[in-house]
């Protein structure tokens, strides 16, 4: 059968062979962790602890004040050193809980482990997922409990489990599918129950044949479909994955809810199973440490709040020639100025690179490659020019707000124009104008 896909997109070099065959190792908890109270989409959590408090592994230290937020848990046992702003991978300092690890790794009482997690009601599943602070682990960190609560007027018929891992270099999702296929499948079944959907489709790119075969074997008899999708970037982008697998288009400005779909990353599916069946809050996550400047690339399970430096030290340290440190993948990841930032719930990878940072920029020669690559059907060069000359209303009619910032346009731009940067700037300006108007 032919692998399904979406129109346009790009084929960047993969670099996955650096780490795809390496089984997960668990990184021991560091001496100190810095756990930001804001590591998800939505409002920051409110601190539940004070300086000097003793905390246990899995103890809730931050509580979601709103629906669009997520609880935060301690990843070590020990003493709270401070609750104050600390550097954060997203750029600005965020109120964080610094904890001195006492090395005892004492866990909080997990409570009653459900005998049959699949027998729980949709409401119970949602509650446990919320209590565990689960967020989308593909990178956007959208609160999972919200995704499991579709509006009444938008019935969900299909759950898509996203195993594409279309970002180059990253291999943690691939390893999860190979090492924890049952957890992913069971988590998917819980998601289906919580959303009331009928179908579950696991979409995996055809560069991960071993994962496809294994998931097909393990999913036999569960009614779960495993779909082969083409290896192409950004295959794992929510809207493109839905259009590839179901031929449905999420309306402009809308959400997958609008076409009856919920998409969850494989790591999130596993986190849902951990939360519901094992009462384990989200205090550690799988990630890939890789790149040509990493001596020993690894797939690691890392406690939230571990400084990047400690993670990189376990992989041979930082090569002095490295000039670029990225959280996430090379296409959408955030570059970091220091390795002191902590691992957060959205950290899917830590990459070290030596890069040609400022290639010579030419004027746009209208080659239209950005148009040929854009998975959203935009004309990036046009939006770039409109933003540059401050025609923001026109930039909006040309779809600036529909840009998912996947970077496909900029990847292939022969003039080396920072297209995504311009479009991002335009989006921010458009939003601030709208805020002013409504104020």
């Amino acid at each position: 059968m032919r692998a399904k896909t979406f129109p346009r997109g790009i084929h960047p070099p993969e670099f996955k062979s650096l780490s795809e065959h390496l089984a997960f190792e668990t990184l021991p908890a560091p001496d100190k962790v810095y756990i930001p109270l804001h590591q998800h989409f939505g409002a920051p959590a409110k601190s539940l602890v004070n300086k000097g408090d003793e905390v246990l592994v899995g103890q809730k230290i931050g509580e979601a004040p709103a629906l669009f937020s997520a609880d935060v848990h301690s990843s070590v046992s020990g003493k709270v050193l401070a609750v104050e702003p600390y550097i954060h991978p997203a750029g600005r300092p965020v109120l964080s809980v610094a904890i001195q690890n006492n090395g005892e790794d004492r866990r909080v009482d997990p409570g009653d482990i459900p005998a049959d997690p699949t027998a729980l009601s949709a409401e119970e599943i949602r509650k446990k997922v919320k209590e565990a602070g689960v967020v989308g682990m593909g990178g956007a960190a959208f609160p999972t409990a919200v995704k499991l609560s579709p509006p009444k007027d938008k019935p969900i018929d299909t759950v898509i489990i996203n195993g594409c891992e279309c970002e180059p270099v990253l291999t943690a999702d691939h390893r999860l599918m190979l090492e924890f296929p049952e957890d992913i499948i069971n988590g998917a079944l819980l998601v289906r129950k919580a959303t009331g959907a009928a179908r579950i489709i696991i979409g995996v790119e055809n560069n991960k044949k071993d994962a496809l075969d294994l998931l097909r074997k393990k999913a036999a008899g569960t009614g779960i479909e495993v779909e082969t999708v083409k290896t192409k970037y950004p295959q794992g982008a929510e809207k493109n994955l839905i259009s590839a697998i179901l031929k449905r288009e999420v309306p402009k400005g809308g959400l997958p809810f609008d076409v009856g779909v919920v998409v969850q990353n494989v790591a999130t599916a596993k986190a849902v199973w951990d939360a519901v069946a094992r009462n384990l809050p989200l205090y550690e996550r799988p990630l890939t440490v890789s790149g040509p400047m990493v001596t020993t690339p690894k797939n690691l399970i890392v406690r939230i709040g571990t400084p990047f430096q400690a993670v990189l030290d376990s992989c041979g340290g930082i090569n002095g020639e490295a000039d670029t440190l990225i959280m996430g993948g090379p296409m959408m990841g955030l570059s970091q100025w220091t390795a002191d930032v902590p691992v957060i719930k959205g950290t899917s990878g830590i990459l070290l690179w030596k890069m040609d940072r400022s290639p010579r920029e030419y004027a746009c020669i209208r080659c239209s490659r950005c148009v040929d690559h854009c998975p959203m059907g935009l004309v990036p060069t046009q939006i770039m020019k409109l933003v540059k000359y401050d025609h923001l209303e026109k930039a909006e009619t040309w779809g600036a707000q529909d840009c998912v910032e996947c970077g496909s346009c900029q990847y292939g731009c022969p003039a080396k124009i920072p297209l995504v940067h311009w479009i991002r700037l335009g989006k921010n300006k458009i939003i601030s104008i709208k805020k002013k108007k409504s104020a």
């Binding site: 296409m331 010579r360 059907g377 529909d402 970077g407 995504v420």
Partner: protein, 324 residues
């Protein structure tokens, strides 16, 4: 604390290896077979014309960059080299060298730099240069010399399209054989005579994806349909589509000039309209116009509409519903 600090930069962090100069020099390489063919057919005249046009274009470009205080590396981005080569290729081999030099200056100055340099010009610079020469030196621009391998009477020598237009070549049976057109052993502009050499270059461009395939496809497709209708209706009066494809500047225009990225559209739909428009205007001029050839005017004419076409053919955004 970490001792390292790193560079901050917005995503994406990966880029492919292509660049503006790479694309431009790909076109230069693709032109090489046709350049070689013209030197073979027109000997030292061809070589002298190439050197003249290249020098005129590069010197003009350098002066503009200097006085506009633009970075000098742009001189070697390849675009001025292409303009010089293409201009020489669409000139009659017998043209005076000083006229050709004027053409080169005009191509860069009025065709490109007055608009703001590479990326901002509306018209194909080489064709602007040629159009200027056509107006300034109409006789020189329509006097043709035979190839070195042809023995012909200089006074009456004409191009295949000239024969078609003014000598009634179809009914007289004097139309150039397709074989001669294909290898290029006919009169005409320097670089456009050898269809074979141009097609080798075109295949390379398509393979390298340095041009949009829609443009040559749209132009040749439209021209085949348009000339085919008349040919099928009255084969004793009209030349065949095959003749029209191989004669004159059609191939160099369709593959190397209309495909100029800067002066062609960016959206797929606009590209089709642009290409079909060029094919149609070429057909109209060749069959019913006052000139024997219409490739230059057709491309310049459609260049004019590119900004408009782009504006009215915005592609559908994923998830967008358009009012019916």
């Amino acid at each position: 604390m970490s001792s390292n600090s790193f560079f901050l930069k917005s995503s994406p962090h990966f880029r492919d290896g292509d660049s503006v100069p790479k694309i431009m020099y790909t076109v230069v390489i693709a032109l090489a077979p046709a350049v070689a063919a013209s030197v073979y057919y027109f000997r030292w005249r061809a070589a002298a014309l190439y050197i003249t046009c290249l020098a005129a274009c590069l010197i003009t470009e350098a002066l503009f960059l200097k006085f506009r205080k633009k970075p000098m590396f742009s001189l070697w981005d390849g675009s001025a080299v292409i303009t010089g080569l293409l201009l020489a290729m669409v000139l009659p081999p017998s043209i005076a060298l000083d006229s050709a030099a004027i053409g080169g200056v005009v191509a860069i100055a009025l065709g490109k730099q007055v608009f703001g340099g590479l990326g901002y010009n509306i018209f194909n610079p080489a064709l602007v240069g040629r159009a200027f020469l056509q107006t300034a030196f109409p006789v020189a621009m329509t006097s043709w010399m035979p190839t070195a391998a042809l023995k012909a009477d200089l006074a009456t020598f004409a191009t295949p399209l000239g024969n078609l237009k003014f000598q009634d070549a179809v009914s007289q049976g004097t139309l150039s054989p397709l074989k001669d057109l294909f290898v290029g052993n006919v009169g005409g502009c320097m670089g456009e005579t050898s269809a074979l050499a141009l097609l080798i270059g075109a295949a390379f461009l398509l393979y390298k994806r340095a041009i949009d395939w829609r443009i040559p496809a749209g132009i040749t497709g439209t021209l085949i349909v348009f000339t085919g209708i008349f040919w099928l209706g009255a084969p004793d009066r009209y030349a065949s589509p095959a003749f029209h494809l191989l004669a004159g500047g059609l191939l160099i225009g369709a593959f190397f000039m209309a495909t100029d990225m800067v002066s062609s559209p960016v959206t797929p739909k606009a590209t089709w309209i642009y290409a079909a428009g060029i094919g149609l205007v070429i057909g109209l001029i060749r069959l019913f116009g006052g000139f024997p050839e219409g490739v230059m005017y057709a491309i310049l004419f459609m260049n004019t509409f590119v900004p408009l076409l782009n504006r009215f053919t915005r592609p559908r955004i994923l998830g967008e519903r358009r009012a019916p």
